[in-house]
């Protein structure tokens, strides 16, 4: 009977091991070294950056802008396969770490505030076309990174703001 128990225990251990390997959550993608060296990354922070909320009120279509914001606004702020993401005004609070929210960058408790304080950033090449590569491969950014975006504002009649960005500065820290 000892052999039976040994076999059962071994099988259970093997199952637990395989299960735990299979269930491991994806590790948060760390910004890559290659991204830090991208041509879109600014080494120094450009001056006089305005927060997203202010930019939405004051900028006009075609203006050169420097906008400050935090990457977020939805559960998936990055567009896969294209260098674009959304940023939110730093004045909009997000869930604190101790609240245990798995996706604080979606601002789930501040949906109304986010509507007025969100902008889309798309990295464009010299011809003005969006770069067909994920933003996380080009910039050392992740969700809730603070970024200063330099580019041209694109406004529409509905009040949406898109920044065709040439350069991005990523503040160190979170």
């Amino acid at each position: 009977m000892r052999i039976v128990f040994t076999i059962v225990v071994l099988c259970s251990l093997l199952t637990s091991l395989l299960t735990s390997i299979g269930c491991q959550p994806n590790k948060e993608k760390a910004p890559t070294a290659r991204a830090a060296g991208s041509a879109f990354v600014l080494a120094e922070e450009p001056g006089e950056a305005i927060p997203v909320g202010t930019a939405k009120e004051s900028t006009k279509d075609g203006d050169d802008v420097v906008v400050l914001g935090l990457v977020g606004g939805s559960t998936k702020p990055f567009v896969e396969g294209l260098a674009a993401f959304t940023i939110v005004d730093p004045k909009v609070p997000y869930c604190a770490d101790e609240e245990g929210c798995p996706t604080p960058w979606d601002y789930c408790c501040q949906i109304d505030a986010v509507r007025q304080n969100i902008a889309t950033v798309k990295l464009v090449d010299s011809s003005g076309k969006p770069v067909m590569q994920g933003a996380r491969e080009l910039l050392p950014v992740k969700e809730l990174s603070t970024v200063v975006v330099q580019g041209i504002a694109k406004r529409d009649e509905q009040g949406n703001l898109t920044i065709a960005a040439h350069h991005v500065f990523v503040r160190p820290g979170k």
Partner: protein, 407 residues
């Protein structure tokens, strides 16, 4: 042959011949005949093992059916656009009716043939459905336009016609989803939902995808019946060179529309992820059932070996090595388990393959596919080995002299 082997063995033990003990194996027929010596015990064990292996087959078929239903439902060239506030549940999604026009005007990504953009506006709703003879069940309804089959390329009309005004067509698994009789959904029969009586115009298949558990009707009829003007989603078939990221970019740029775009394959992969605990639970059941099977095998083999202590000791005395006897006993277990696997596999293929199962998101069919057969038969053979090893080892550890005196 047997006599010659025995003679050689005796010769090896009586001390006259000092050569090594020949490496003899018990003949294959020995294990086979031992099984037929106790027909009732063998038949009962065969039955018990078959039940256990059949359960394994059914659980694996359930997992495979669920995986295939969700895995095949997505088309990699189709992008779904729905409300960002719906939390990945299309039934909760509500987008403006003008969105398809806005999307096609703003984006050049949709495939176009003969002047028709392959964009399908749809309204999806779970609602109470009743037929003439059956009680009310919860059905999944989809209001579609004639563009739907251009985008949903797995759809095949098997019987009847595309729904006209006041008509509805039923997927082949709708009866399982509603819990009603298949005959209730025959073409021409009436069916009630949203306070109206509809006529079934046709039956469709969708290559084993989740759509097979749905009822489809004309979008405008469904909007009128539900008193809704909005849509749940837009399904868009992309041009070959177009990327889903462009649609996604449009959605995040137009924050006022509150849209979200996702490849259909990714959407169903996320649903599959949602059902991960169910799959894990099902695999746990496979393990538990298999463990029960091991104990069944153990029980049978302990019983079989306990009554054969003298026989095993005799075999050792006449020269058969312990390894050879052990192999013969394992052979018996494996033979029985293999026969049980065949019986269980045949029953599973005949009775359970394709059987419709009602599930939260619709219904799907049990799949006895290559993976199910491999797992079921693998577990069966493993039961044979694991079930026979411990009793065989125990029997061989007994001293030959005392075993020969055993009653």
């Amino acid at each position: 042959m047997q006599a010659r082997r025995c003679a050689m063995a005796v010769c090896a033990h009586d001390g006259t011949n000092q050569g090594p003990i020949p490496k003899m194996l018990l003949p294959f027929e020995y294990a086979f005949r031992n099984l037929s010596r106790r027909p009732v015990r063998t038949a009962l064990t065969l039955f018990a093992l078959s039940v256990v292996i059949l359960l394994v087959f059914i659980v694996v078929a359930f997992i495979r059916g669920l995986e295939q239903s969700l895995g095949d439902s997505g088309d990699p060239e189709v992008v779904l656009v729905y409300s960002v506030n719906s939390e990945d549940n299309l039934e909760n999604s509500s987008i403006a009716a003008r969105t398809p026009a806005l999307l096609t005007a703003s984006l050049d990504g949709a495939l176009e043939r003969f002047g028709i953009k392959h964009v399908s506006p749809e309204l999806v709703l779970g609602t109470r459905v009743s037929s003439a003879n059956d009680p009310v069940g919860l059905g999944l309804l989809r209001g579609v336009t004639l563009n739907a089959p251009l985008v949903r390329r797995a759809i095949r009309l098997e019987e009847g016609n595309w729904p006209g005004p006041g008509e509805v067509m039923a997927g082949k698994l709708v009866a399982a989803k509603l819990g009603c009789d298949e005959s209730s959904l025959a073409v021409g029969n009436p069916i009630d939902f949203e306070g109206r009586t509809w006529r079934i115009s046709g039956r469709f298949a969708a290559g084993g995808t989740a759509y097979e558990a749905e009822l489809w009707c004309r979008l405008e009829d469904f909007q009128s019946a539900t008193k809704r003007q909005d849509l749940s989603l837009i399904a868009m078939l992309l041009k070959p060179q177009c990327s889903a990221a462009e649609v996604e970019l449009f959605c995040i740029e137009r924050t006022d529309l509150e849209l979200r775009a996702i490849r259909e394959t990714e959407y169903y992969a996320s649903l599959e992820q949602h059902y991960q605990p169910v799959r894990m639970l099902a695999w746990l059941v496979v393990w538990l059932v298999s463990a029960a099977g091991v104990f069944t095998g153990l029980n049978m083999m302990y019983g079989a070996v306990a009554g054969r202590v003298r026989e095993i000791a005799t075999l050792q005395t006449i020269g058969y090595r312990r390894r050879a006897i052990l192999l013969s006993l394992v052979q018996e277990g494996v033979l029985l388990a293999a026969a049980s696997s065949l019986v269980a596999g045949t029953i599973a293929l005949i009775l359970f393959n394709g059987l419709a199962v009602r599930f939260t998101m619709g219904a799907f069919a049990l799949r006895i596919d290559s993976i199910s057969i491999l797992t079921g038969c693998g577990v069966g053979l493993l039961l044979g080995v694991l079930g026979s090893l411990p009793p065989a080892l125990k029997a061989l550890r007994t001293e030959v002299a005392s075993a020969l005196k055993a009653i």
